[in-house]
């Protein structure tokens, strides 16, 4: 539901000629502190931009459920609801 809203908002911005950039859903703007948006950042932390929303959401849900080994993401994923994860995943999937 929220993901749909974010998607519609993103479309509206595109349609209006992008007077301002679509803002990230709650929580998403923090991710780029570790997951570089610049592919040449020189980090071994995988990028999120342009990955499929399904893959991102699956990974988050597995971290949250303790089914995927991690260093930090297993601790962070527990702070987000399924809806929030969906919205964050959709937003990163839409970034180039």
């Amino acid at each position: 539901m929220k993901a749909t809203r974010a998607f519609v908002a993103a479309l509206a911005v595109l349609a209006s000629g992008a007077a301002f950039a679509a803002e990230a859903p709650p929580g998403a703007s923090s991710c780029s502190g570790c997951h570089a948006t610049n592919p040449n950042a020189g980090t071994t932390v995988p990028p999120l931009n342009g990955r499929s929303a399904g893959d991102i959401a699956d990974a988050m849900n597995e971290y949250k459920a303790g089914k995927r080994p991690g260093t930090i993401m297993d601790r962070l994923a527990k702070g987000f609801s399924e809806e929030e994860i969906k919205a964050i995943a959709a937003w990163y999937a839409a970034q180039k």
Binding site: S29, G33, C34, T44
Partner: protein, 420 residues
Amino acid sequence: MRTSRRQFLKAASAAALVPAPALAQGAGPKVVVIGGGFAGASAARFVKKYDPRVNVTLIEANRTFTACPFSNGILAGLRDLGAQQFRYDRVAADGVVLAYGTADEVDTQARTVSVANGPKLPYDRLVMAPGVDLRFDALPGYDARAADIMPHAWKAGEQTLLLRQQVESMEDGGTVFIVAPANPFRCPPGPYERASLIAYYLKTKKPKSKVVILDAKDTFSKQRLFQNAWKELYPDHLEWISLSQGGKVNAVKPGEMTLATDFSDHKAAVANVIPPQRAGVIAQKAGVADRSGWCPVDPVTFESKQVPNVHVIGDAAIMGGMPKSAFSANAQAKVCAAAITALLRGEKPVEPRLINTCYSLVAPDYGITVAGVYKPANGVLADIQGAGGVSPIEAPRSQRELEAQFADGWFKTITGEVFG
């Protein structure tokens, strides 16, 4: 006087809305940011990114920024200062106007900021990210001059190099003391990472020496992880003396190189004194700091609870559960930028979620972390229960190596986002 000035400014800004040859910055709303650290430089860039119509000016005293995270590596000879330094060229390339100078007065009625020997800048929204001021009035004997003998090295740069030089030239067999302050202060795990990396250096290069932490606290960030690692790596080279063991330093004598506690005077070969702190002085002047010395803010917009149209982010602000870290500062900046651009459009800011992640190195290949997820609750940012926490207490060494690698990646990523 103030009213007429304000009316004048109103008239002036109304005039600016009349189609006319654009001023240097155009006619959009004005956001001024004070302080070009992880918080301020991020806020300036993201306001511009989220709404390019906004005229953004970043006031910063230095043309080169020296980052604190990872600067403990310099003390152990693992890193050069140059690896910590960044310039504002890419920030300016995004359309942010750089005003190099010290912000020395904020008129919150007229909504202007004065830059020393520079312009008076009007704002619709002001972001204050002044970081911390080291208090040279809080620990008897420790003033700005004492810091030339007993460096704090709590703002990276010359002080870091001075402490490095002292540790490097110390004769083997000496004791390096680190005086750790009570909460709150910038970078809660910082003194313990510092002790670890200095111990690493001593163990390798000066094995008869050691590092002793004199602490004004009984507990600290990532405590069990640090203590377990110290037992394993530095049993003969690192000692922590807590508050209840008499670790609180009440006075220092730089001339004699002594640190006085309730129980004894410790004679130091090298003394690193990290004094108590408060929000940067401009926050006190602008009236956004409360009696604690720090700045209470709304947890959705980070607007000051004391002064309207002024937002405070980063180390200077009281952020509830969120620690004073570079990651927090950058995360807060992005949320603040989104809130400000929403407010300037007349929209209601969205309730945010924020993350903090903080890496510490106990050795070059031994990393540990604390992480948290936060949301607004009861007027502050509160930890989301069940999320976050520290690295596992029991973990194979490969996990610590992986976290050390990710620490390095984190530094590159965040400095890339803020300055690159």
